[in-house]
Amino acid sequence: MAVVMPQATTTKPATVAQRKSSTGYLLLFPGIAWLGVFFAIPLVTLFATSLQTPIEGKTGKYQPGFDVGNYADAISQYWPQFLRSFLYAGTATVLALVIAYPLAYFIAFRAGKWRSLMLVLVVAPSFASFLLRTYAWKTILADDGPITSTLNTLHLLPDGRLLNTWVAVVAGLTYNFLPFMILPLYAALEKIDPRLVEAASDLYASPATAFRKITWPLSMPGVVAGTLLTFIPAAGDYINASLLGSPKNRMIGNAIQNNFIEFRDYPMASALSFILMAIILVLVFTYIRRAGTEDLV
């Protein structure tokens, strides 16, 4: 996905003529085979496992079957976790878009010689452990910390605290996946010819109108890609919910992990994973219908 990787290139070089020979297939084969065996086939196994039935009298042992009931159980037992996952991830994605857009816009149009450095700074926090960064929000949002006490003085917190509430989970998700929003936005904004905006203002468009009619529509590919890249990992995440939320804020990832590793209810965990995957595939294919596959990688 070109959006993942912003480049400082401004000129588009002529493409090299593509050769047709068996070397192409030889180059492709090992990597594609790896992805086939360890990505595609496991998804098939996951689907088969989601239809397995328990063996009577043996907990944690299952036999092949065609038990669609696992899906019904998954939805009826875990619909609150599904709902929370999509609500939290959705809120975090909207927040990330609002926070990321001004920064991406600034890097693309105003940063000048600081552009590369600012992009490095966007990526740099990811070099520190994801778990520790999430854990650090425990300190930042602590009950006696500056943020919570300020909000409490203003009587803005109904629960009197941030930690172990849904607010902390959404804050963690927003923070952790923000670079996934900034980089695609930047990649899309960087491609916009600034002369288009100049032309709009020459024709007496106000800055706001120029933004609404020119910049925003042209940055749409970045908005769509950034939204997907933020929403998808956020919906499947359970680290933020575990570290920053209370048991009332558990997400679908928690349910999958618990069922797989603690309860050893593999069919249930597989059914939950498959429902999550199906919802996300629908999102991805909607995107592909708009953009085509060549733009993805």
């Binding site: 993942v4 180059l27 700074l121 520190a128 300190t139 670079p179 570290l243």
Partner: protein, 280 residues
Amino acid sequence: MRWLRKHILAIIAIAVLVYLFIPIAVIMVLSFNNPAGKFNLSWNEFSTDAWTGLCDVPGVCSSFVQSIEIGLIATIIATVLGTMISFALVRYRFRGRSTTNLLIFLPMATPEVVMGASLLALFLNMKFPLGILTITVAHIMFIISFVVVTVKARLQGMDPRLEEAARDLYADSRAVFRYVTFPLVLPGILGAALLGFSLSFDDFIISYFNAGTLVTFPIFIWGAAQRGIPVQVNALATLVFLIALAIVLGGQFFQFRRRKSLDRPAPLVAAEKVDAFSRS
């Protein structure tokens, strides 16, 4: 007021960058803390004990080394496989291109929990023992796509005239590759390897599903989070952060100088960890 209106965008941009670094600052500051209880969550008193005794707490250094080992093996294999795919995608025509694109894209768009669960389902059904092999296999799988994206961007951004010039000067295809193509793509490959290593080193969810009893650094942190993360973990994370930042800034500087001599814009090597994309 006019000043504010003129600079409001710059102020917001800098504020967002500062926001991105707040947790990093917390991690660093707490690496010099002597926590009052078992949880290293609030400041108590200054201490350099964690820095002088990085390996004093059992499990910290062994899991750290374990993660580096897995990261190195997975990165090397994934970088080779991913680079080969990138060359095929950019330089060759073949059938099944959209399926190939989809197969490369989907691992980046799949939640880690689904990838972890599906691989575990495969290993369980095959009765394959969990451990360093299963983790490494899983890491290679999810790194390949990021390598392809990074190297492909570099290949596409290359000036075809440089290779044409070499051919005009009677270089055969092997010489063109060795003296022109490969050196030009190398920064992209190194960037991809760096990204791959950082993704592998930091991966928790997929590793946790496929680890069995093996403990990587993130798995150690996860376990420790319940009973208090040792201060040494903060010190090591700070160290990793600073080393990675130095490598990326060094690479930027090197590219900047090269770019001047080649007078062509080069892709940013660093910006690729998205999440990495951690994918994260």
